[in-house]
């Protein structure tokens, strides 16, 4: 039985090859996607009692209709709630340090660390970590203790023992107390250095500041007792917050630890975070690719089944029972599936490093992980059954004599099924092609829409906030002037400018402390706040609509404001705009200019109101415009100056055009992946079509012979074979068009500036699918048309 199965498979080399390659490529790609999707869907579930852990979210109403949602809370909040709310079993809090990376000094070199968090002593009793060496209780008692992940410890100390080693941060010395295993890829916490929060509290000024109920600097986690009522707890803690903050509109809610990953609506996200829509899209794509590959398999084997009708009939006449035949066919199907499994495992192992690199993950795939095993085995069982059971059912139901007489092959019902499957494949392919084109056009649109400022050859460096800590405004001003003058000495630096943040993605917003003539009492819109110097508009090519920009040496400009066009419109500033009273943070001044709108955030968002002020102590970002030419030389000269100015801070720069592209990195990734998946799908679908066309040509070989004898030309024959398939592809296009139109419109709604979907996109997608299909089929059709008809007409 096994021998015959093997012989049968080898005999149909082409079918076997198509089945194996289609199935294993399809399975590999969709498994890779599924590994990612499963990881996304299982965020933070590895912590003990993760179901009972919540993060406190605060909703602060800044203006009617505008609520800021923060993941951070005031410092004293957690300890009060753990005392007053009996449902709460445990509380812990953390803080991610500062907005700028912290710098560690080790063996004389400076290392910037971005993924660092301060945690309190309860952190490790709420969250699950694998301790590799050292002691977590020693860490909890040491205000200047550190916990490092394994790879971070390796980075600093190599093979040496990390426990007890000293690292210097700012002017303080920290001791490594414990090393834990790296964060799993499904962890929200990507921190590789954890520092004891008690150390922060040693700073009296900081402690005093943070203990105010108005400062939301700490992320609070709570663990409830089993079966506690979440809504009730939310109510109870809201009361505590309202009472202490003396604010009746503020509200606290709880977000389950496992739901944090897909959270939306936050003002700022500290933790690793994904758009659920993307996960859904990829899940769907994975299923579609798998479906396309499985369809090939089913189609080709059911098609083959009718060709094997004669063999089966003769076996039946010679006494084979339906059971024998069924087992024979299942065995063949099982063999192919098994071979596909082996190839899939090989392909997965080959492609995983690239996949990890691209998705910036560290997945390992082993068949001992249950989801992977379940996926692989599930797919194989399904395809084996579909490919074994269905043809077996058709074949074993034949009336053998009828088949031998050459009449009534059970092809009709069976071919309707096959046609539906081909239509499905091409619906999927065309949809993906159209989606890829639309995604590509949207990316182009975003990147080539005029951002209304220039960003070429501009270098950006950030001065850490603590450099100017404790200095008076005058001292800061003269310090920034020194920086400016020093950097301007470098040949090739055309101009420098300072501001409170980057122009590429300026997130700083404020609300509640603005006032102007004619403002409704409860109207407190969010306004983006930027401090910028006199050079700023020249550097970025900003244009004034009215009035003028701020002047550095003009003392009066400390109280002057420049607004963008959107601000004038949305705030409802009265005419004449220039000279209108404008207050902010208790300081009253006047509007002196209106700058034309520019995109200071990603194109995902509409331009929002912006206010520019001249207070120089806000400025920590330095821009340098370089002259085109020898950039590396200029960079090293700037670095030398930097080392003189800031010996303790590493020179860490970026070019603005790079920063700009980073804004769209995930969009780009998505578009690239989409393109890749569309290619895979169309290849797999074309493979299937190739096999089917070959099969049709084979089955119609006699008809083709007759037609040629009767005078049909080769063109006629090619048409005869292609017509049916092209029709199916056409139906696929018709279904795919509205489907992908709708889906992509939904996607485009994520963008404030989006393209309009145009009909030519679908024409192009349909045309390319048809062209690929036609090419595939015609290879077979031409071969069939060229054959000498006499050979196939001889009666046996």
């Amino acid at each position: 039985m096994f021998k015959i199965a093997y012989r049968n498979l080898i005999k149909q080399k082409r079918t076997l090859l198509i089945n194996l390659s289609g199935l294993s490529v399809g399975m590999t790609v969709s498994l890779l996607i599924m590994v990612w999707v499963i990881n996304e869907l299982n965020y933070d579930n590895y912590h003990t009692k993760s179901d009972q852990i919540y993060r406190v979210t605060n909703h602060i109403e800044v203006s009617p209709g505008e609520t800021w949602v923060w993941e951070s809370s005031p410092l004293p909040y957690t300890s009060l709630m753990s005392k007053q709310v009996p449902e709460i079993n445990k509380v812990t809090k953390m803080m991610t340090g500062t907005w700028v990376p912290l710098i560690f000094e080790h063996k004389g070199s400076l290392l910037k660390e971005a993924n660092i968090a301060y945690v309190d002593s309860n952190w490790f009793s709420m969250f699950s970590y694998t301790l590799l060496s050292g002691s977590l209780s020693v860490f909890s008692e040491n205000p200047y203790g550190l916990v490092l992940t394994e790879s971070k410890a390796k980075k600093y100390f190599g093979a040496e023992e990390a426990i007890g080693k000293i690292l210097k941060m700012d002017s303080l010395y920290y001791t490594v107390n414990a090393v834990v295993a790296d964060n799993p890829s499904n962890s929200s916490f990507k921190f590789d250095i954890l520092s004891n929060m008690a150390g922060l509290m040693k700073n009296e000024a900081r402690k005093k500041n943070d203990e105010s109920w108005g400062n939301f600097n700490y992320i609070s986690f709570i663990r409830l007792h089993e079966n506690s009522n979440q809504k009730l707890v939310e109510k109870k803690i809201t009361e505590i917050l309202r009472k202490n903050k003396d604010d009746n509109t503020i509200r606290s809610t709880l977000v389950g630890l496992k739901d944090m990953h897909f959270e939306t609506g936050l003002q700022y996200y500290t933790f690793s975070h994904t758009n659920q829509q993307i996960v859904t899209v990829f899940l769907v794509i994975a299923v579609l690719i798998l479906l396309t590959a499985s369809i090939n398999y089913v189609n080709l084997s059911t098609a083959r089944a009718s060709i094997r009708a004669k063999e089966i009939s003769i076996r039946k006449i010679n006494g084979a029972s339906n059971k024998n035949l069924f087992l024979q066919l299942m065995l063949e199907s099982g063999l192919v599936s098994f071979a596909a499994l082996v190839i899939t495992v090989l392909l997965m192992n080959l492609s995983l490093p690239y996949f990890n690199q691209f998705t910036e993950n560290n997945f390992t795939i082993s068949l001992s992980d249950w989801p992977v095993t379940a996926l692989v085995l599930g797919t194989l069982t399904l395809t084996t059954l579909l490919n074994g059971v269905y043809p077996a059912m058709i074949l074993t139901s034949f009336k053998p004599l009828q088949v031998l007489r050459g009449s009534s092959l059970p092809t009709i019902k069976d071919s309707v099924f096959r046609k539906a499957l081909v239509v499905t494949q091409f619906t999927i392919s065309v949809s993906l092609i159209a989606a890829t084109i639309i995604a590509y056009l949207q990316m182009q649109h975003i990147q080539h829409t005029d951002s209304k400022y220039q960003k070429d050859q501009i270098l950006k460096v950030t001065v850490p906030w603590y450099v100017t800590k404790g200095k008076t405004n005058e001292e800061i001003s003269s310090f920034t002037q020194t920086i400016q003058q020093t950097l301007m000495q470098v040949p090739g630096v055309k101009r420098t400018s300072q501001a409170s943040g980057s122009i590429i993605d300026h997130q700083s917003t404020s609300s509640g402390s603005f006032d102007w003539n004619g403002r409704a009492k409860d109207f407190n819109p969010s306004i983006s706040v930027l401090s910028a110097d006199e050079i700023f508009p020249q550097m970025f090519g900003l244009e004034m609509k009215e009035g003028r920009w701020l002047k550095d040496r003009n003392q009066a400009d400390q109280h002057s404001y420049v607004l963008n066009e959107t601000a004038i419109k949305e705030l409802g500033i009265h005419k004449p705009y220039i000279g209108q009273r404008f207050s902010w943070g208790g300081d009253t001044g006047a509007i002196i200019g209106i700058v034309k709108d520019f995109h200071f955030r990603s194109m995902h968002e509409k331009i929002t109101p912006l206010m520019v002020h001249g207070q120089s102590n806000w400025r920590s970002t330095i821009f340098m415009q370089l002259t085109p030419g020898n950039i590396p030389d200029q960079l090293s000269s700037i670095e030398n100056k930097w080392k003189v100015l800031f010996p303790k801070i590493p020179f860490d720069y970026s070019f603005l055009d790079q920063d700009f592209n980073k804004l769209y990195k995930s969009d780009q990734q998505m578009a690239t992946l989409m393109f890749f998946f569309a290619i895979i799908t169309i290849i797999v679908a074309a493979l299937g079509l190739f096999g089917l066309a070959a099969f049709t040509a084979e089955r119609k070989i006699k008809e083709i012979g007759i037609r040629k004898v009767l005078g049909a030309s080769s063109t006629h024959i090619v048409q005869l074979i292609s017509k049916e398939f092209i029709l199916l592809v056409g139906v696929g296009i018709l279904i795919a068009t509205p489907l992908s139109w709708w889906a992509m419109s939904e996607w485009l709604n994520n963008y404030a500036y989006r393209i309009n979907i145009q009909i030519w996109i679908f024409l192009l997608a349909g045309f390319s699918a048809t062209a690929i299909a036609l090419l595939t089929i015609s290879i077979q059709a031409i071969k069939a048309a060229m054959e000498n008809p006499v050979k196939n007409l001889r009666s046996e």
Binding site: S407, G711, S713, V790
Partner: protein
């Protein structure tokens, strides 16, 4: 109408060389009804294929309607074929997916006859072979004799000058076989040249002349009329 001289055809496989036609010469006049007989493998099917311009001789001359055919390319042969020759096969070779009407219509489509004229011609010829009432049926729904009548109708619908019949009664019982032979005789009486390969002495007697072949050569010729 047909004149072949020293026609040769050799089939080669990897090891064996089979001589199918060995310097065969014959002449068939317009309006003749010729039966070709001989044992299996004597070359009669090869002869029929070459006469039908489905196959190329290796050597020799083949004059059809005063025109040298040997050396024509595939396209030229197809052109001559569809205008002049009709085929009747032992296994009927009807297309299962097409109705009786559509099967008969095929040769007209390939010679570019307009739809209205096609309909008229097909109906005419279906009447002639008395199968008009089955025009919308599929081949599987017909008896063997009926199927062969459809095949004959298809062979003659284009008014070919020559009909090549390869054991036309081979798959039929005697009464159905006789019907088909009557049909061919009628066609011949109306002026169509017929070359028929057969194993049946009975069928051969409908012809004017019997050519007996052996090992790729003619052995004897019996003139019946």
């Amino acid at each position: 109408m047909i004149k072949i001289t020293n026609l040769e055809k050799v089939y080669r496989t990897d090891e064996v060389e089979t001589i199918a036609l060995n310097k065969l010469s014959m002449e068939i006049k317009k309006g003749e009804f010729v039966a070709v007989m001989g044992p299996s493998g004597c070359g009669k099917s090869t002869l029929l294929n070459i006469l039908g311009l489905l196959d190329d001789p290796d050597a020799g001359s083949f004059i059809f309607n005063g025109q040298e055919i040997a050396g024509f390319n595939e396209r030229q042969r197809a052109d001559v074929r569809k205008r002049n020759i009709g085929f009747v096969f032992q296994s009927f070779n009807l297309i299962d997916e097409l109705t009786v009407f559509e099967n008969v219509e095929l040769p007209l489509i390939y010679t570019g006859v307009k739809a209205a004229e096609r309909k008229q011609k097909v109906e005419e010829v279906l009447e002639k072979v008395q199968i008009m009432h089955r025009r919308n049926h599929y081949p599987q729904q017909l008896s063997g004799g009926q199927q062969q009548r459809v095949a004959v109708a298809r062979a003659v619908v284009n008014n070919p000058k020559l009909i090549l019949a390869d054991e036309p009664t081979g798959n039929l019982d005697s009464s159905n076989g006789n019907e088909v032979m009557e049909l061919l005789t009628n066609l011949n009486e109306q002026g169509t040249t017929i070359v028929m390969v057969t194993h049946s002495e009975h069928d051969a007697r409908y012809s004017h002349r019997i050519i007996r072949m052996l090992d790729g050569q003619t052995v004897t010729e019996n003139i019946l009329v």
